[in-house]
């Protein structure tokens, strides 16, 4: 389904599809589909809306299928949830903490998974043809939501920011703040200098490490967002390349590969989210005390 519809090209010469074959290439960024005042609706955003709709419909459908004695669908969902919770337990090592983090992690997982898989659907063959710098360009309606850096960036920011907010609620604002700007350790210079003179060297180093942690938080955002974007985008490039080389049969194994990659990437992102939340909720002072107590006990 190809149609000539763009807002900007109304005054330009209209070329019919049979006059020129549109270029089919993948851009690093999501292409705009339509504009709503100052807001650009890209194909990745459109895919995300579809993903939200699908998840919402599935959640509604599941809600009314829940029974004390589970049916097939509920059983499957329970197996997924139970497995995911066990995996969460392996990361946190604490069921109570896992139960708190789990809803966010599983939401991240499903949101990314559906977005990844939607990009693989043949519905991507539906789109519009736009007049671009290199002639007519085909813009698909659906582009994997996670194949747009804006989506992965939003998720990464929420993950890292959420982990810190979770840390504030779990261990308190002061302790969370001291993870980055360790004023407490600077204060210990004056209190511990008599008993431990080495604190004069250790404390500034620890303080500096705390500052590096701030940089680390931005690194987390960058690594999370670019890893997911890179993998999904590379997958789409691979599929388009294969389809361009041999249109039939050959891309099928790569489609399966991308289905798998979609699951793995969603899993990695959600596990990392759990890890960041666990780190956010961990109290270094308490851990140090615990380690010290263990050392004393061992001695």
């Amino acid at each position: 389904m190809v149609s000539n519809t763009t807002q900007e090209n109304t005054n330009k010469e209209v070329r019919l599809p049979y006059q020129e074959q549109p270029n089919q290439h993948i851009t690093l960024f999501a292409e705009p589909i339509f504009y709503s005042e100052n807001f650009i609706v890209t194909n990745a955003l459109l895919t995300s809306w579809v993903a939200v709709f699908i998840i919402a419909v599935l959640a509604f459908a599941l809600r009314f299928k829940f029974r004390e004695i589970p049916g097939k669908i509920q059983n499957l969902f329970e197996i997924i949830i139970d497995g995911a919770l066990s995996m969460c337990d392996q990361v946190t090592g604490n069921r109570a903490l896992s139960v708190k983090i789990f809803p966010i992690a599983i939401s991240v997982f499903f949101f990314i998974l559906i977005n990844n898989w939607l990009g693989l659907l043949p519905l991507g063959g539906f789109g519009i043809v736009e007049e671009g710098e290199h002639g007519l360009t085909f813009v698909p309606f659906l582009r994997g939501g996670t194949a747009d850096i804006n989506t992965t960036l939003a998720l990464a920011v929420m993950s890292v920011l959420g982990a810190n907010i979770f840390g504030i609620f779990s261990i308190g604002a002061w302790k969370t703040f001291n993870k980055y700007v360790n004023l407490k350790i600077l204060g210990e210079i004056f209190t511990k200098i008599r008993h431990e003179p080495t604190v004069v060297i250790v404390a500034p180093i620890t303080f500096f490490v705390g500052l590096i942690e701030v940089v680390g938080e931005f690194a987390k955002i960058a690594s999370l967002s670019f890893r997911l974007f890179g993998n999904v985008f590379a997958g789409e490039v691979l599929l388009v390349s294969m389809a361009a080389l041999v249109a039939y049969i050959v891309p099928i194994p790569f489609m399966f590969l991308e289905i798998l990659v979609g699951v793995i990437q969603a899993l990695i992102f959600s596990i990392l989210t759990v890890v960041y939340f666990t780190i956010g909720a961990s109290d270094h002072d308490h851990e140090d005390e615990h380690t010290h107590t263990e050392q004393v006990a061992t001695a």
Binding site: S48, A59, R63, E68, P103, V108, G145, D148, N150, L155
Partner: protein, 153 residues
């Protein structure tokens, strides 16, 4: 930084839109799927736990009851054996008593009957004797009478 933004078309509006999308997904999943399912699973877990506890208690009770039953069975067997022996002894004693009593009754009855038969025999003999005497008297009378009548003729 600007080059990254322009290369990847990073747009804060789309970032916010995607964050909102994720927020909706989280809310919907939490309210309609995770929370109710968690509730169901927790209730079921509690029921299973209670069931297991009950089963353990029932098993303990069963074991106790079995032990009690076995002990009671042994006791009852002993009691029944004792009772059986006692009863057998009582029965033998009773039988002996009865036999002795019956024998004594029988002997007495035989004695009584023998005595009665002796009395009856004596009475019968006496009666027979008197009967014979009266018959003899009648015969003599009749003979005398007949001889007298013949003489008259």
């Amino acid at each position: 930084m600007d080059s990254i933004i322009s290369t990847f078309h990073i747009d804060w509006k789309i970032i916010i839109a995607q964050a909102v999308n994720f927020g909706i997904v989280f809310a919907v999943l939490y309210v309609f799927a995770l929370k109710p399912l968690g509730k169901f699973m927790e209730e079921r877990g509690k029921k299973i736990e209670a069931g297991i506890n009950n089963a353990e208690k029932s098993n303990e009770l069963l074991q106790k009851a079995t032990e009690e039953y076995n002990q009671n069975t042994i006791k009852l067997k002993q009691i029944s054996v004792n009772a059986h022996n006692e009863l057998q002894r009582d029965l033998e004693r009773l039988r002996a008593d009865h036999v002795a009593k019956i024998k004594a009754d029988n002997d007495e009855w035989v004695k009584k009957r023998t005595e009665q038969m002796a009395i009856d025999k004596k009475v019968l003999v006496e009666e027979a004797k008197s009967e014979i005497t009266s018959l003899a008297t009648l015969m003599v009378e009749k003979l005398i009478k007949d001889k007298t009548e013949l003489k008259d003729l």
